[in-house]
């Protein structure tokens, strides 16, 4: 058993061609709820956090040449939305548990990384 971080990346631009009606928004929220409750119910949800949906700040370099800019990198078209911390036996299982994460239905991607026991 180990902990895995499911990092949620999503495009900065919301998809233009998809209209989010109230009914649809509710359906998505209910899907998220069902997914997290499933993890919680199986005692696999160790934590979660949402990040403010904004580019934030970027630091680079040190000393005199340190630069702070509005993040992220100019080329990036994605934003990290947040993460879930789950427990699983291995990567395969972590991936299985991530498959029905609702953000995957809306152009997002999930990066799964094992947390190292220190």
């Amino acid at each position: 058993m180990a902990q895995y971080m499911l990092i949620s990346h999503h495009p900065m631009e919301a998809p233009q061609d998809v209209e989010f009606s109230p009914e649809m928004i509710q359906a998505v929220i209910q899907k998220y709820n069902a997914w997290t409750e499933k993890l919680r119910g199986a005692n696999r949800l160790a934590g979660l956090n949402k990040l403010q949906p904004e580019p934030g700040r970027h630091l680079r370099g040190h000393g005199a040449s340190q630069v702070v800019t509005d993040g992220p990198y100019a080329e990036t078209k994605e934003l990290i939305g947040g993460y879930w911390l789950i427990t699983a036996d291995d990567y395969d299982q972590a991936v299985e548990l991530s498959r029905d994460c609702p953000s995957l239905e809306f152009g997002g991607r999930i990066e799964v990384r094992e947390v190292e026991e220190l």
């Binding site: 009606s21 009914e23 649809m24 929220i29 209910q30 709820n33 069902a34 949402k50 947040g82 609702p102």
Partner: protein
Amino acid sequence: MQESSNSRIDGLVDHLFRHQAGQMVSSLTRIFGPQHLDLAEEVVQDALLKALQIWPFRGIPENPSGWLVQVAKNRALDLLRRESSLQSKSQELLRSLSAGPELHPSSGALDDELNMIFMACHPSIPRESRIALTLKTVGGFGVREIARAFLARDSAIAQRVVRAKRLIREKQITFELPDPRELPARLDSVLEVIYLLFNEGYTAHTGENLVRRELCEEAIRLGGLLVTHDASGLPKCHALLALMLFQAARLPARIGKDGELLTLAEQDRALWDRRSINRGFYHLDHAAQGPEMTEYHMQAGIAACHAAAESHETTDWGRIVQLYDRLRELNPSPVVALNRVVALSRVYGPEAAIRELEEISEHAALGHYHLLPATMGELLSELGQIEKAAVFYRQALDCPCSDPERRFLLKKLEALTGRRPRGPGHPRSEI
């Protein structure tokens, strides 16, 4: 309407967002003014999207509606400070928005929603746009949802909504209920829109999508709003509501296991929604108070006869004929006449009905209406005149009709040419 099993777990009843959106858009339109309908929608959409961002992580709040209202209020206040076009009203709006936890005055969100429907049905707005605007605002439907329901393109619906909003700005249409002189006409147009909505959901005009239940439910919900308010709770509103409730009660029984439409005679009445029927009778009662007798009254009465009958055979056809007689006085359309003939055949037999039917056939308007030859075919087959009946069924198949209707006619034709029919069938005039 049943709650899905999820709603008990996550606290979100079916269509909560849709209905909440409808309420909030209505109230914010009152607060910002009808010319700022776009802003009202923007505020509401922002609030819903915020919920979409936050609730998956923070969980669904104890009071989801309250959360949405609070966020919408904050967003509205932001907008107020930013939008110069709202500056002139800003003091009163700030007061309006800051007071109390709700967006609407204590008399209720009901008033705001009702005002919204009445505004959407203003005579300057073309009928299609009235329907689209009503569904988009009070209904809380998305453009795509409306388009799918009406088998139209997204762009067509979007255009109708844009047009309605533009007319509201140009004609400076106000949010209040029309004054007493205009109210009756406006109310009639509201009833018409609601009934159009219901019919769109209830029947199929083309293709496979037979029943669009959500439109029916929305029409019933809007009808329910109407009758709760004094200014609009007239007997004819109760009549329309009763009619819709009786018809909607039959929805669970209308589709056979092969996906085809079942006639009243074929439907398993045990599947009819009793609660809807009871509500129907409650409103039918209220419809009876007062002197006005409208088409809705007659149609509701006819639907009530069916609802009250244990079986097709024991239906009070005599009373139905009487009601059709009166309906025909109010609406001499050939379609009404046709439906009357069918009821008549139950009381006076097929020959009498055929004579009446021959008279109606003269009517040009029925030229390509498949039910006319289909009804003739049915009556003739009851008399045992198989060949003649088959001719008429084939004629019916030449007329434009939906796929399920086509299958129904083919089924009838095969039954005729395959073997002699046993007992009385019933033409599909009422389902």
